[in-house]
Symmetry: D2
Subunit: 137 residues, 4 copies
């Protein structure tokens, strides 16, 4: 398993009149988590797109345990539980400053060749950077 | 089962650089679907909040079958498959102008008393407006 | 002058914890106003982009007179006060259901040739559709 | 004058199909700039709201010089050019990683007493924290 943690400060723009983070805005927190998990590994999502491969989302699941609120400093733990194939899955746990788990999420994404529009395998570079985290003895 | 259909035109603001509707923006489409499904039934979500009950989201699931694109006129079919209790579930099917199913979603929400912060039962008015759609013979 | 009116229902997603429409979300209301003003004229912004011309924003000004709130049905009056050249300006007046003016805005956009990345003149079709509204006697 | 710099990484969610940051999303960059400028001064916007004062936006102006793109690391220089009275003005300059100025903005906000709904003076704590930056000899 590969795991990476980031912190995100809740913006006013992301709250709604309930005083909570609007439920649709967790998707962009997940996205920042995925991109920074890749960057920490030495892999740039931006360069992946420039090389002609994009990663559209196939499925997304979110469980709202407790509300995130304005100005909260959230910790997002991003995990890649399995080696990617033609798709990749990310899990997210979000904790608040008190350390309480307030949110869980999971996203599956495809690899798509932008010129053909067809699914493709995860790029070799991503696989070789992830491999060391999945070696079992 | 209670069912209602609405149409939503994709805004430029909702696209991303892939040229698709950003995956987090479906949540606001669902929200418009829920609120209009209630309004069509004779029930105002705004007035519900004014009466001291709010409906935070507990769980959300989204399946992205095909991309929605800029300026697409989407049809969202919103269903309430069961009578609400202390929670309510909505299902969504989204089709594009060609009639193809491009997206499926499901959201569960709680009823929460805003002064106590505690879960409560669905309001009587909502239950009596929904009841006729769930009468079995 | 060319003028067109549209109505927009405020989404929960667009509110913030002040209970108002977040100030950055008016930009997407303006955008819907511009696109529908064009559509009403017989001009499709989507097709303009497909033909290789895009319209990036150069300047934007917003004056917040009174708050728009959740579920408000807003009326947006969009005006094109002058014939476009290499740029076009839109004015917006937003009124609430009581007819009170709550917001004013103004956006200037360029016409840019997407292959060269360079500014260009407004397309002939747009000019000929707008011309009748600017004929002086 | 009081000045503070922050950095913001452009999220995928913030791009549009032009491949640029959507023009309405700069408002949330400004907001992060204002809040962090206050925090750096020793002042919490969150606590201000908890004390019963909110700061709705009165006017906003944005000039788009060059596009910000996905994954860009932007530097936002936030300035408060004058001591606040019953309103406060912020200026923003945004530069990209190459150091080029790509955007300028300006926002004026009011101070409003949340219980009365009426404008009020800037809080004493904010004034005393800002005063040292405006002392002329």
């Amino acid at each position: 398993m590969y795991q990476h943690q980031i912190q995100i400060r809740v913006r006013y723009a992301e709250t709604d009149q309930m005083g909570y983070v609007y439920y649709g805005n967790y998707a962009s927190y997940y996205e920042v988590g995925r991109v920074e998990a890749f960057r920490n590994l030495g892999f740039s999502y931006k360069k992946l797109e420039e090389s002609g491969i994009m990663m559209p989302v196939l499925e997304n699941y979110s469980k709202f345990i407790n509300a995130a609120k304005y100005d909260d400093l959230l910790t997002i733990t991003v995990s890649i539980p399995q080696m990617p194939t033609a798709r990749i899955t990310f899990n997210y746990d979000i904790t608040n400053e008190a350390g309480a788990l307030i949110h869980e999420g999971r996203t599956s994404l495809a690899f798509v060749n932008m010129s053909s529009g067809r699914p493709c395998r995860a790029p070799e570079k991503m696989l070789s950077l992830l491999q060391p985290y999945f070696n079992e003895e």
